[in-house]
């Protein structure tokens, strides 16, 4: 099924409401993600940022009480449509998590596994090398590909997780506070990497760190909570504009530190 939609958005949400049981966690989100840019989602704790991010590749499906209304379009196709297999959605829209979570396998296997289960037919060795290079990790691990992914430092583990996501060849990479467990230097490396990756990939990042959003993103969406504790999107625009000239009072209060 196709929609009359502007296909130059990487993801477009229309009237999205997300529920956990009877609790409405996020309401009425209309968001257009620009391809090959970095979009940051910021906002206070509990405003539903992560819930929104996880609904982009149907990771919320594993929460039994989760329910969603509205449409989330990817290439004009609603990813929540009946005939869409969430497995395929997650292959096209990859994810990096808050805490680095490499598999307890070798570095090589960490990267190769995703490609292999998705039926990759090419040369795995080349793919592993290329993705590790893309994730700016190759030089650090090339002599130790057989070592466990868990033997790396936190920052390296997170870059390994990014490499692992890249190996599946997604179009969009969702990052759920990817630097919250890392030190500033490792954080900076990830941010540089994100900048590099945004030439090929669309990146959506949820972050608590406003400086990070200001530094690293092209677009910023600010979410907050309503009186009924439902998250909602207050303002969305170019990062520069959001941080220097917010249109909404609530955004200004948040980024200037008066709230949050």
């Amino acid at each position: 099924m196709t929609h009359e939609t502007n296909n130059h958005y990487a993801i477009e949400t229309r009237g999205v409401n997300l529920y956990y049981g009877n609790f409405r966690a996020v309401k009425d989100v209309d968001l257009q993600i620009v391809p090959q840019k970095i979009t940051a989602i910021i906002g206070p704790s509990g405003c539903g940022k992560s819930t929104v991010l996880r609904s982009f590749n149907r990771m919320n499906d594993f929460v039994p009480s989760f329910r969603m209304e509205g449409e989330i379009l990817f290439h004009g196709q609603n990813i929540y449509a009946e005939d869409v297999d969430p497995v395929m959605v997650r292959q096209r829209i990859g994810m990096v998590f808050q805490k680095p979570n490499p598999f307890p396998k070798s570095i090589y296997e960490n990267v190769a596994w995703g490609a292999r289960i998705n039926g990759y037919k090419g040369n795995l060795d080349e793919l592993v090398e290329q993705t590790l290079r893309d994730a700016a990790l190759w030089d650090e691990v090339k002599d130790n590909l057989k070592k466990s992914g868990l033997s790396l430092s936190g920052g390296q583990q997170q870059r390994l997780c990014i490499a692992r996501a890249l190996a599946v060849k997604p179009e969009i990479i969702l990052m759920d506070e990817p630097c919250s467990a890392l030190d500033p230097i490792a954080t900076l490396k990830i941010e540089e990497l994100m900048r590099e990756l945004s030439r090929q990939y669309t990146i959506i990042i949820v972050t608590h760190n406003m400086q990070q959003a200001a530094r690293a993103s092209d677009y910023t969406a600010f979410f907050t909570m309503d009186d009924d504790r439902a998250g909602l999107m207050v303002e969305y625009g170019e990062t520069h504009q959001i941080f220097t000239n917010p249109r909404d009072q609530r955004t200004e209060d948040y980024i200037t530190g008066r709230f949050g």
Binding site: R90, Q91, F97, F103, P104, G114, I117, S148, V168
Partner: protein, 411 residues
């Protein structure tokens, strides 16, 4: 210099004292456990070795004037022919084959069993042997005055002969071979049946079953079944495997005649039922302990549910599953009650040859021996307990080695 940490001294002391008190309590709990274990092992060891006083019906050295082990095979055959009736000889030949064809060891055993017929006049425990030697010597001297041909020897009841002989009505000729083989056969069936079913059920309940009323009821039932007394499983096994499915368990379906359902297969299946809830619960626990982050990582890469389970959940849960299996096997190996119900017989001296054989098992043998009046049976029961413990430990160590190898992989 003034100590800045002095303030309400007495209160602090009381807080520390409370901590010390509880430390003491926990330490004594551990100590009581250790003492109980040590007492258990010492009691068994105490019974498993010691001095014995033996009288022969026919003095073994007077048979040919030399020790039996130095005799040739024809000489041994002659002894048998001289001392036994013709009918008795015929029975022997029917059971063992022609006397001329038997090897030396078998012949010596036959001579001992049929001609010498040693009886134990008196046996002493290990503690008595070690610490009351003088009193024992006196007692033996008194006995010697009555019966001159007395043999006194130090005997470990757990000896190679004990392991290789089968059941016998005389304690010094009885062994555990049949029982050990029976136990191993039963455990093999139990593991083969219970492990796949248990792990399968655990995977279903943890990974596939949704939160609903039916599944909650199933879960509650499994939890409760783990606590059902084993005798109940015995009754169940008797009703289902021995009686209802006797065609299958007796092997009649496969053309084996003259058997009934009281076979190793029935016993193994009953034991499998018995340990299934334990296995399922432990496997569920192990599967639940696999971090959610690992599953998410897998799903996030576009893995299907099965790929996630097979490549990540199971390998990471396997060490835990094996730990549960170890516990379950230990339980099954030591169970007695259900085996009695499904027809273990302690009077079997024919080795099991397959799953349709009749059987006896170690705990059955131990139970039977401890119930006999002659004190020597308690000695061999202690030896059999040691055998059971060794079998148990070796099965467990296999599982532990397997587990360690698996959990080392990938970390």
């Amino acid at each position: 210099m003034n100590n800045i940490f002095t303030s309400p001294r007495s209160i602090l002391a009381a807080r520390h004292a409370r901590g010390k008190f509880w430390r003491g309590v926990f330490f004594s709990s551990t100590l009581i456990g250790l003492i109980a274990l040590a007492a258990l092992i010492l009691t068994i060891l105490n019974r498993a070795a010691g001095l014995v006083v033996i009288t022969d019906a026919v003095d073994r050295n007077s048979l040919a004037g030399r020790p039996l082990t130095e005799l040739t095979r024809p000489e041994l055959v002659t002894i048998l022919q001289d001392h036994l009736t013709r009918t008795r000889l015929r029975t022997l030949e029917r059971n063992n084959g022609p006397l001329d064809s038997l090897d030396e060891e078998t012949l010596i055993n036959l001579v001992m069993e049929q001609v010498v017929k040693p009886t134990i006049r008196k046996s002493y425990t290990l503690a008595e042997t070690l610490f009351q030697r003088a009193a024992i010597e006196q007692e033996i001297a008194a006995m010697r005055a009555e019966t001159p041909n007395l043999q006194v020897e130090f005997r470990s009841w757990l000896n190679p002969g004990f392991l290789t002989r089968s059941m016998s009505a005389t304690p010094e000729l009885a062994g555990v071979r049949t029982a050990v083989l029976g136990s191993l056969w039963i455990i093999a069936i139990t593991i083969l049946v219970a492990f796949p079913i248990g792990v399968g059920a655990a995977i279903y309940l943890e990974e596939y079953a949704s939160e609903n009323r039916v599944n909650r009821i199933i879960q509650t039932n499994i939890d409760n079944l783990a606590g059902v007394p084993s005798i109940v499983y015995g009754i169940l096994g008797l009703a289902i495997f021995v009686r209802t499915l006797s065609h299958l368990t007796s092997g009649a379906v496969f053309g084996i005649q003259g058997s009934n359902g009281r076979t190793i297969l029935s016993a193994g299946l009953t034991m499998a039922l018995l340990i299934l809830p334990i296995l399922i619960i432990n496997a569920q626990e192990a599967i639940r302990a696999v971090p959610a982050s690992l599953r998410q990582a897998s799903y996030g890469l576009g893995a299907t549910r099965w790929q996630t389970i097979w490549h990540h959940v199971l390998p990471n849960a396997l060490p835990g599953i094996l730990t549960g299996t170890i516990l379950a096997i230990s339980r099954a190996l030591g169970e007695t009650a259900p085996l009695i119900l499904v027809g273990a017989s302690s009077l079997i001296n024919k080795d099991p040859t397959g799953v349709f054989s009749f059987f006896t098992a170690l705990p059955i043998q131990i139970y039977n021996w401890t119930a006999r009046p002659q004190p020597e049976f308690r000695n061999i029961a202690a030896a059999a307990i040691l055998v059971l413990l060794v079998v148990l430990l070796s099965l467990n160590s296999v599982a532990i080695v397997l587990r360690n190898r698996l959990s080392k992989r990938g970390t």
